[in-house]
């Protein structure tokens, strides 16, 4: 079995109308033995950016600490908060630094990007474990249930969903995908990000 499947876990992000959503399951296991049903793998970076880190448990913590350090240094040097686009590039270069001995994580970034006009645009991106960026206009998936997430999201997602409808869509997509995956599930957490606030909800899921 691959090291990417060792601890299990999945993350998905979706674009809506003036909002983005990012969601993950809450399981952490060792192969098929579940250790925790409350393992957070989505972390806030700024008030408008969240990053999901599915993959090997040890690297979830290591990368979260690494990103926290680098974003803090950026904020101090630039005297402003980092933008989602820039943060995605930071994620990519951080992973590519370890090209020949990678962190076993496939990050997903979701946030609201500030536009030159003063407005905000939804932004999502995902990378593979060595930092190859994928900017998508609809949704991105990662983790052990990624194949199932692709299938369900392809069927449920539609353009220009309002925040509440986007929440419903991403929740149903995630819950139904992880139920078909032995290494993901055990509850879920969903963040819906709009330009001025973030709504976080914890979902109950099947516990088998």
């Amino acid at each position: 079995m691959s090291i990417m499947q060792y601890n299990g876990g999945s993350v998905i992000a979706m674009v809506g109308k003036d909002c983005v959503a990012i969601a993950s399951d809450l399981r952490l296991g060792v192969q098929s033995l579940s250790i925790s049903a409350n393992y957070q793998k989505i972390f806030p970076i700024t008030d408008r950016i969240y990053v999901g880190l599915p993959g090997l448990g040890t690297d979830v913590t290591t990368l979260h600490e690494q990103f926290r350090y680098r974003v803090n240094m950026y904020t101090i040097k630039e005297e402003r908060e980092i933008e989602p686009q820039t943060f995605a590039q930071l994620v990519s270069s951080t992973l590519y630094e370890r090209r020949f001995g990678p962190y076993f994580i496939e990050p997903v970034v979701a946030g609201m990007q500030k536009l030159p006009t003063g407005g905000f645009a939804p932004f999502i991106a995902a990378t593979d474990l060595i930092g190859c960026l994928n900017f998508a206009k609809d949704f991105v998936v990662a983790g052990t249930a990624s194949e199932k997430l692709f299938g369900v999201a392809e069927g449920l997602w539609e353009p220009d969903l309002e925040a509440e409808d986007l929440f419903e869509t991403i929740s149903q997509t995630l819950l139904n995908a992880v139920d078909r995956d032995a290494f993901s599930g055990w509850g879920a957490v969903v963040h819906v990000i709009t330009k001025d606030k973030v709504v976080t909800r914890t979902l109950k899921g099947r516990m088998d």
């Binding site: 250790i35 040890t58 913590t61």
Partner: protein, 194 residues
């Protein structure tokens, strides 16, 4: 073949580890203490590769002590867990990684809350209400899913722990006969008899 359990309850954490030291199929010692007292309110149960375990546990113990001497105050459980995790994570990507699994139980004297952390040799750190390492985990985790109560007083916590130990003794082929049990709460760490 090490077995270790830990559970949290109302204002305390209980850690239990078997006391057998084995060389392949031979038991060489029956009263080995595998739970270190890192600071006045912090306990660490260790298991894994013989040699690595004691070496790493003593390294952690001395560094936690050094921090306390330098700063007058000991590290809080969450900070100690982060430091230990970082040591293991750095070790994992070195030439010769430590092969040590840990259970870290502590009482945070600033927030008055008990904390339990499950950690493996990869540096995976998880905050949990109950945990186990070794073959015992296959029995104990399902029992604790059913019987664990985060609000249980110490006597009930010890009774649940006893059920785990009894089940492992009954069903596990390579069961260990003796366990050392330690508790950490607002009064600090102490050993208890089951």
């Amino acid at each position: 073949m090490d077995v270790s359990f830990a559970i949290t309850g109302k204002g305390y954490v209980i850690l239990a580890a078997d006391t057998t030291a084995a060389h392949s199929i031979i038991k060489v010692k029956l009263d080995e203490d595998k739970i270190k007292e890192l600071s006045p309110h912090l306990l660490m149960a260790y298991s894994g590769e013989p040699g690595d375990t004691v070496q790493f546990a003593e390294y952690v113990e001395r560094n936690i002590r050094l921090y306390q001497i330098r700063n007058l105050y000991p590290l809080r459980p969450s900070s100690a867990a982060s430091w230990i995790r970082r040591s293991l994570a750095d070790s994992l990507r070195s030439r010769k990684p430590y092969s040590v699994n840990l259970l870290l139980g502590g009482y945070d004297t600033t927030t008055h809350t008990p904390h339990l952390y499950w950690m493996d040799y990869l540096g995976t750190l998880v905050d949990v209400p109950f945990a186990a390492h070794g073959y015992g985990s296959y029995f104990a985790l399902s029992l604790l899913d059913r019987y664990h109560d985060p609000e249980a007083p110490l006597e009930e916590g010890l009774a649940v722990l006893k059920r785990c130990i009894d089940e492992v003794t009954k069903r596990l082929v390579v069961a260990q006969p003796k366990y050392k049990v330690k508790v950490v709460d607002k009064d600090g760490v102490r050993e208890v008899e089951l």
